[in-house]
Structures are given as C-alpha cells and as structure tokens.
Symmetry: C2
Subunit: 661 residues, 2 copies
C-alpha cells in the first residue's frame, strides 16, 4: 500500500525485476479513479470509461431501478451511449497532486492536549484543504494524516460529478456464491461493472488510460494493484489491539449478527421485502464477516506475539536513542488510556459514531441538526467536520435522492435503540433522556415516519438553518435535537480521555518509527491512492494447496441451480460458446483491504490484467498486519471480462472500446 510519492522502485526491481519508471507511475496515477461510494476504479478508454466491480455499482443500479426494471437482479446492460444513466450522488476523483502540509499542522497543534489538540489539528487540516483547492468546484482537496500523525498531506483531485452507469451484470453473476463464497476462494464471481465519467453532458476526455491485456494471468507473474485501500490499523499498539479484540470487535459483530438475523427474517416470506432488503443484507453480511476475520487474526496468539515483538523491538530502539527520549513513555500512555477506551467505547459507538444504526433518515436528521447548530458558530469553534470547506459536500448529500425504505428504516432505528438501551443500561440517565417513557419499538415506529425522506424537506431545513430546524415538528428532527447534547457529551468524553492522549502518543511513536526504521514501511490505509506489488500465487489452507486461478468450466461445475449458486439464464445459455478454460477469477499476494474493490490489477507493463473485488479470509486480518504467506487479493481476470462481454452479453462495442478490436 505504497503512496505515489513514495514508491520503493529499487525494492520492487530487486524483488521482481520490474522497473516502474516515472512514465509508468504517472500513467497509472492518471488512470486510477476513486469513487465516493468507497470503491476504486480504473480508466480503460480515452472517453472516460472506467472499470470497477459490480458490487460497487449495485447501489446505483438499485437507484435507477423502477417497479418495471430491476437492474440489480437483471443487470444493467446498455446497448449504446444514450442508455448510460447518471448514478445519483456518485462522484469520481482522479488524483492530480500530493502536497505535504505536515509542518503547518504541527505548528497549529503543538503543545495542545486532549480535545483542544484534536480541534486544532482538524482545523489546520481544513485550512490547508481550502488553501489548495479554493472554491473550484472541479477540484476536491482532502487533507489526510499518514503514519498516525507522522505526516499530513493534501490530496488534490480532479472531481467528476456526473458518473453514469454503463454496465452491470445480473447480481446472480456479480455475486455468484453470495455470502458463503464471500472472502473465500476458489471463486467464480463476475464481479465487474463499468461507469463513464461525463463533463458537460459529454463523455470526459481521458487521454491517459490503462491498456487492456489479452493474455491470462500466469502463476508467479508480478501484479500491481492500484486503488484506494480504505483503512488499516497496523500501527496500533498491542494494548490497543487487545481493546479491539475484547471490546470493539465483539460489540460490532454481535450487533451485526442480530441485525443480519432481522434482515434475513424480514425478507423470508415476502419477495418484495426480500428485494428491498437485499442490498442492506449484503452490506451487513459483509461487515459482519469483516469483523469476524479481524477477530480471528487477533485471537491467533502467533499474530499478537508478532505484534508484541514489533512493539518491543521499536521500544528498544527508541530507548537507545537519546533524541527520542520523549517517546519512551508513549506506549504506556496508550496502555493507560485503554480502560477508558473500553468504558467509553459503547457510548461513543451507540450515541455518536454508530448513532441511528444505519438509518438514512437519522443520518439526514443529524446532519441537518448539527449543521444548523455548528454554522451558527465561528468556524474555529465548530466540530471539524462542519468547517466551511466541508459544507458544499454536506449540501450535496442532503440534495441527493437515493431511495429510502421506511420498513428498513424502522428496523435500523429499532435495532439501534434496543442495542443502545442494552449497552448503556435501562437506568442510565442518558438512556432515559433518549427514550423518555417510550419503548424502542414504539419510538422507532414514530421516528421512521419522518418526512426527511423527501429531499425538498431536507433542503428547506438546510436553507432555513437553526431557526427552521428548531421550529420543525418532524419527529426525527425533534428526537435528534434531544439526542444531540447527549451524543456530543459521549464524543467529548472519548476525545478527552482516549483520542486526545492516544493520538498524541501515537504521533510520537509514528515519528519515532519513521526516524528509526526510515521509510521502509508504508503508512496505514486512508482511502487514498496506493500501489501494492505482488504476484499471482495460491496458498495453503487447512494443509491443502489452493490453486491461484479458476476457469469457466469450474463455474459451470459449481452451479446447483439454487441461490446463491444459481447461474443467470444468460450464462447457462452461453455455456457452449464460452472457452471453458478461460481464467475466470485469480488470486495474488497483493496487500489490499476494503476500498480496493474495483482496483485495476496491472502487469509489469501497466496493462490491465484483472479487477480486484475481494480478499481471502486471512486477508481480513490485514487490517492489523499483512501476512504474505496467506493474505490474498481476489480478482476477475481481464480475459474473462472480454470473453463474457462478447459471448454472454453481446456487448461488442464495449469490447472494441476496451481492446480496440
């Protein structure tokens, strides 16, 4: 996960004999796309066409669907450019430059502690963003901390507000194998999708793009994954990992498991409800398995022992270096904050970071209430996420109109209120303040009747500011007005006793790490552009070798006809036409994580050989540390994409745009 201002060219050359020169890197950077829905993509034609995953455009396909057209189930299969349709709310960003702002952020936050430190740092980051991009709406600037505060950079992007859906296969193909196959291999998913970037209602000119490769991936050949890994926590100390293991992950998993049960049952005997819940369920199942995988890594004594050895080695080097004297106590400072982290996390999660439990309506209500309260203050006193530079994005979010299902909203809200009462206890004054004399069940029913599903209602409250919000009789707005001080108190307590002291200590450790170890390691993932190098390779699971590739023939063998192993009719019909030994999916040793979905997988010449869509189960532990023996990236091969576009879907124009033939 190397940043593009720090690619270890010599090391790659030594390991794989491949030289990534400036031309290679510049072309790849200019072809790499970040999608604002948390996915990656790659430009594959000069006319703004980008390849990504099917699961990355499923939300769009669902938003474009109507009672007559179910694009998620049937696929979104355009014939011509005119059929391409704008994905509501989706934006694409291509990285232009990286600006180092470490010094100015340090200057602003130096000597501060606790919540003051957090506010000063985040304020300085907002200022740096504004300085780099101004008010230019074709740009986006995002300040990002690397090495847990060891470095701060502003990433400046070309922004595309008009992203249109070009192609998505049927969900049965994109997610063949469903939840059971998720994070597993061998795999037979056609998890790809295409979007096109538009400017002024015409396809964007993208002269730099990734050439398509006609040859299948070969065992052992070098692979380069270019995309935006979302988040890793590899610099957490062992004390922090234990809090993750014992407090954070169990709570997340258990709540997701229960919500999963609710969503499954909700759709059990009602096809319409099942369809309405399908994306939500897929999301919950995926999140659930993610935390299960992370927990498995932390439950592995060998994994934590290795982390312990890392901590000890760095501490020994720090202790031996008089220049780093003020860092020696940092590990203990972090450890000292862990009891508070364990105590305060449930309230932070339930009341602040996970408030609303996934409800879109709650998200809008809180955005409106908080924005109204914060905009009434001088910028320096606001919560950092409501700085002036963030307001346009908030406004756009409020104006978007993704579909909202009231029945699902009620499930999310009820589940959240029930779990909040359980986690914080019935008699806690803040729980009583939230619920009053009502029950979670009745309250959720009332709140899910909010009119905030209507973007016009939202925009009226946004424009009306605090006066309008305070005068609103919407049940959810009124509820959030009541909940907001409680949530802020939970956050302030956590920042004062956990984030504040921990971030300061972590920054010291991060600086020491860079000082002692040099730039021999890459920073934690931050949903910013990274390059990972590796090779096509299987691995060993339960003592048996797992091969690196699957074929179309294997796919047809696995089809049972029953969900989630039912093939789409189009694929059944095309069976005889497809080359059965075509490499379908493949694994490689690249270090990726959620956010890399849709990342182009390139060969040594920078040609597109596949599209990453998943990791194997051990790769989920990659959140805390990469294990090259077991962690694998799973991709759809470029040859399978072209073969299927041509013979299953008859999309010759698209094939020609990709391959020139």
């Amino acid at each position: 996960m190397w940043t593009f201002d720090g690619i270890p060219v010599a090391r790659i050359e030594a390991a794989y004999g491949v030289t990534l020169d400036r031309t290679w890197l510049d072309a790849v950077q200019a072809s790499a796309v970040r999608l604002t829905n948390g996915c990656s993509a790659g430009l594959v034609s000069g006319e703004g066409l980008a390849v990504t995953n099917g699961h990355c455009v499923a939300d769009c396909a669902q938003a474009l669907s109507s009672s007559g057209d179910d694009y998620v189930q049937d696929g979104f299969l355009t014939e011509a450019r005119e059929d391409e349709r704008k994905c509501p709310g989706l934006q694409a960003e291509v990285l232009l430059t990286i600006i180092d702002v470490t010094d100015q952020v340090r200057l602003a936050s130096e000597g501060k502690a606790g919540r003051d430190f957090v506010q000063a740092r985040d304020g300085a980051l907002a200022v740096a963003e504004l300085a780099a991009c101004g008010q230019d709406q074709t740009l986006r600037c995002q300040a990002i901390g690397f090495f847990r505060g060891g470095q701060y950079k502003v990433y400046k992007y070309r922004r595309y507000n008009d992203v249109r859906l070009v192609f998505m296969p049927e969900m049965a193909s994109a997610s063949f194998g469903g939840d059971p196959d998720n994070f597993n291999f061998p795999r037979y998913a056609f998890d790809i999708g295409f979007v096109r970037l538009y400017v002024d209602d015409a396809p964007a000119a993208t002269p730099t793009f990734l050439p398509w490769r006609g040859k299948p991936p070969a065992d052992g050949e070098p692979t380069f994954v270019v995309g935006n890994p979302g988040s890793t926590e590899r610099q957490l100390t062992v004390a922090q990992l234990e809090t993750q293991r014992d407090v954070v992950l169990p709570m997340l998993q258990l709540q997701r498991a229960e919500l999963r049960g609710r969503l499954i049952q909700f759709g059990r005997d009602d096809a319409d409800q099942a369809r309405a819940a399908s994306q939500a369920l897929a999301w919950v199942q995926n999140s659930y398995k993610l935390s299960v995988g992370k927990q498995a890594a932390l439950n592995d004594p060998a994994f934590l022992d290795a982390k312990r050895a890392d901590d000890a080695a760095l501490r020994a080097k720090v202790a031996a270096d008089p220049k780093l004297a003020d860092t020696t106590g940092a590990w203990d400072e972090i450890a000292k904050a862990q009891p508070a982290a364990a105590d305060l996390f449930p309230a932070l999660r339930m009341l602040e970071t996970g408030a609303g439990g996934g409800s879109e309506l709650y998200y809008y209500a809180r955005l409106l209430v908080r924005a109204a309260l914060e905009r009434a203050k001088p910028e320096a006193e606001r919560l950092p996420e409501y700085a002036d530079a963030r307001l346009p994005l908030i406004e756009r979010k409020l104006a978007d109109a993704p579909p909202i299902d009231p029945a699902l909203e009620r499930i999310y809200l009820e589940h959240w209120l029930l779990k909040t009462r359980e986690a914080l206890t019935v008699d806690a004054p803040r729980v009583r303040a939230l619920l009053g004399r009502d029950s979670p069940e009745r309250l959720a029913e009332a709140l899910s009747g909010s009119a905030l599903s209507d973007p016009e209602v939202r925009m009226a409250l946004w424009k009306g500011g605090l006066a309008a919000v305070e005068a609103s009789d919407d049940p959810l707005v009124r509820f959030v007005l009541r909940a907001d001080p409680i949530a802020r108190a939970a956050r302030a307590a956590y920042e004062a006793r956990v984030s504040g002291p921990v971030d300061i200590a972590a920054e010291k450790i991060a600086k020491a790490r860079v000082a002692v170890l040099g730039d021999g390691a890459y920073p934690d993932a931050t949903f910013s552009l990274r390059l990972s190098y590796g090779k096509v390779a299987g691995w060993k699971a339960r003592g048996e070798a797992v091969r690196a590739t699957t074929t179309f023939a294997g796919f047809y063998d696995r089809v049972t006809g029953v969900e989630p192993f039912a093939a789409a009719p189009r694929w059944l019909e095309a069976k005889g036409r497809l080359k059965s030994d075509t490499v379908f999916d493949f694994v490689s040793t690249n270090d990726i994580i959620g956010g890399n979905s849709g990342s182009p997988v390139l060969d040594a010449k920078g040609r597109l050989m596949g599209v990453a869509f998943d990791g194997n189960l051990p790769s989920l532990g990659g959140a805390y540390g990469y294990d090259g023996a077991r962690n694998r990236t799973i991709s759809v091969s470029a040859v399978a994409i072209v073969e299927a576009l041509s013979k299953v879907y008859g999309r010759d124009a698209l094939v020609k745009e990709l391959t020139g033939r």
Copy 2:
C-alpha cells in the same frame, strides 16, 4: 455449591455462627426438588406443594393454553385444587441417597484411552445406575462425575411423574423488566410459580417441607440456597479457558445473536407470531446474555491472571510431591489438545451437540434414528446415552406432546443449516452430503413439514425400530439417516483427539487437587443438589453502591406502561392495598448458576425467606470462578410472595397452606 455428603459444617459455623446439624440438613434435603426441565423448587406444604419460579413453569402454562386461554400472558390462577393441571412431560425428583461408585468406574476405564476410555467410563456409569434403581419406576438413578472425574456418585431420587401447575402470575409480572432487566439489579420481578406433586391422582404426602418465614430479609443475615446448579467449569485449565474465550463462546454468541434477530423480526408485525415466538425468544436472549457474561469474565485480564496463578500454584505442589509424578504433564497434555479442540469444535457443535439448532422435530428425529440404530447393537457397543437404563426416559420424551410451531421449526432449521454451511464451508464434503444440491432455505422448508410433531407417529417409529425408521418416508427422518454418520464422525473425532486425552488429564489434575488441597473446595456444578451459604448483601457497580433490596414502592416507580415495563392490570389495581415498603426482590452472596432457578433461599433456621430466580451480570462469570465481591443471587422475598398472593391475587387458600394462617 457444596454436595450434601460434604457440607463444611465447621466452616459455616466459623463464618456465620450458624450450626447446620444433621436434622437441619436432612429436612432441607427432603424438601429440595429437582425439576426435569432444568429448574429447582422447594416443598412448602405437607401436601406436595412446591414453590419455584414463574419462568420455570412458563413452558407448562404455554402447553396448557388454548386459543381461548393464554395462561402465559394472563397467568395461571387456580381457585381450587381441582383446577390444578398436569404439566406435560414435567417430572420432579427428590434426592434420597448418594452412593459412591468411584472405584468401580475407575476399574472399568483404567488403562484405556481416547474413545475407548469415554465408552468404558460411560458404560460403567450406566451399569451403576441400573444396579442402584433396578426397574423401579418410582425411582430415578443418575450417575454423576464430580471433580472432573475425581469422584463418581449415583444420585438416587424419588421420582414424581405427575406434576401439576398450581399458580403462575402473568408474564408481565413474572418477567417484569424483560430482557433489559435480566441479570440486572435493582429488580422488581414477581418471578414465582407453584406446582404440586401428585401420586395416584392425589396430592403427594410430603411430611417434610420448608416452613415459611414472615420476616423480611435483613442486610447481612446468613442465607442458604438449596438447589441444583446446572453446570460450571471452574476446573478448566487456562488453556481450556482460552479456547472457550476465543472459539466456543464467540461462536455461540454470534449464532444466538442472529437467531435472536430472526425471532424478534418474526414477531414484529404479527401479534400471533410474536406470542408464538415469545418463549423461544426469551430462551435465546437468556442464553445469549449468559455467554456474553461468560465472555466478559474471560476477557477480564485480572480474571485469567487469577486462574493462571491457581494453575501455577497447583502445578508447583504437584511437582513437589513424588506420589503425583504422573500428573505433572497433565496441564501440557490438555494444552496440546487445544488446537484440535479449536479445529474440531465447530463440527462437533453444528453436527452433533447443537444439531438441529433448537428444532424440536429434529430432536425427535435424531432420537428415533439413533435409538433405532443403537438398540440394534449389544449394549456395550452403544453410544452411552442409549444404554438400556436410559431407554424408558427416551420413550417418555417421545410420548410427550408439547406444542410445536412449524414456523419456528423452519426458522431453527434454516438458521442451523445456514450456520453449518458457514462454519464448515460450502465445499466441505460433509456439507455437500448434508445439503445435496439444495439450499438451506429450501431444505429447511421441506424438513419442517415433518409429521413427527404427532406423538403417535413418533411412537409408531419407536416401536417399529430400525425397520420402521429405515422404511419411513418422513423428510426429516430421511435427512437424519443421511446426517447421522456425519455427526457420529464429528463426535468420534472430537472424542478421540479432545475429550479422550483431556478427560484423562483432567481426572489426574482433579485427583491431585483433592490430594493436595483436600476437600476444601466443592466440585463443579452438575445439576445435582447443592447447598450454598452466603448473606444478604449489595455490591458496588461502576463505583456506585447497589442496595440489597427493592420494595413494592420502587416497582410502581419503575412502571412506564410500555413493555417490558408495563405492570399487569391486577397489580395496578392493587397498588393502594399493598404495603409499599414490603421487600420485593433481594440479593445475596450465594454462589449459584443456571439450574438454581426456583431454589429455596433459607435462613439460619431453615425457614423459607425467598426464591432465587436470577444472578447479577458478574455472576455469569461464575461459570469459571466465583467472586464474592461481585457475584450475587437475586431472589423474590417470601414476604412479597404472601403479600401479593393475598392482596393482588386473592389466593387466601394458598396463603393459608404456606403460612398456616
């Protein structure tokens, strides 16, 4: 949790100044009742009347309900003896004698290992049972291992097959506070119930019973809890506890959380379904919280450190004693088996010990299939639970007719099949053998159509034996015939690589513990009669003192009118008549665990001062170790019972039977 053949009379005298003489102990033993549904009770009149918990008779009340009478919701409030009704399938047992059979069991199993050891031991236990009770149907003999194999005893009981429901309050009173209050305190639950033992259609003569006490519990006074704690695992080594923490408990919790979500959602918008699922949901929520509490104890580093110190202290003493030389390696042998335990537990759980996921139909089908297969073998070669001595109980279970809800059955089966596929992976041959080319969803639907809900169908298969079972076209019988060898293989593998070696090593440690420490500690709970001594006392939670008692006044303060804090109408109406300062529920330091529900709580004179119905949250860690500073038993006071029976329910005859007035 002292056994009645090892009460530490001197120690109790030293601690509390109370002398429990033979008369006291004999009277208490003769008054203590074990219910076959996993609860405890106490005789409180000479005519077979026993007090227990409301939640212990809720299943019975549900079975007796019809479309017109919902005894769970409205309570089962008899006016006269003639209204008392038999609880289907419920039996009561009163302990007569305890017979030590350690030597003969040792002799049979000595020198054997692995599965052979398990079979020889269990075979010898079955023989000992038969020797003690013969075929006398008024008796029950049960062989029980104590100290993890350090001792074996046969418990000989007077058995009552006719147990009738006398009184159960409305569920809103019995479980006031519902899941949020479960395992919490302060508490305001009227969780009591009365049953009567019958012999030959007349109330049983029970000349020895517990006298009722008219005085409320006083802070600090000694309390004696007499009942049947179900199961503790306090002699597990740290290596085993880590397997519990990292493998067993997370799996159980996550599956229960998901099932809980399904059951909540199942009842969400349908009052009939909500009612049908209410008991199932209560059970799942209770099991869920139990494992959460156990996990919390194991996640507490101080708790495991104390266990580590215990292990180390015992190992040091063993190492210093040449007579115990063959025990020195036992801890390492147990540790060495833990990777296999972690590997094999998921299959053991999904295919064998938790097979069917709670489905009653599955339980019957497996009982029928296994019994047919096992009865065809010589007794010595059978699975121990199908020894001749066990067959009458199996037959009675098959003949019982508790209500079975097909919709719930389908949920259980589907959830189980889905989780089995998830835990054991899609491509595993045994999963393929179970599912064939079907999906868990479709298969569960087909299986839940089984005709085994009809006791006549079951009895026909029971009587027809293997030929009838193999000829059956019932979908569930056919499925279990297919699943049985797979389940047996999972069990055999676990016994060979885990239970076998671990049980042998654990028995060595247990013997060494007794040799080194004497009988200064009681054995793990085994759902057999125990006495726990303690005192009325609150504790400190989150730095604040929790008082030991609640009152009726506190109950009325807590009522919100919304579930689960809605009071039953009868209680609202009676408010003015009740003495508001009556002690309602109280806590004491007694060491109890699930199975103790319904246990009489006695004062120094052996008078009934309350009925235990719950523990506090820290007490759930009592599965692994008792912490007197925090673990608490929660009971309904005897004074509250009489006050409410009289002024809320107008049951003067019952009050007279209890108090003589």
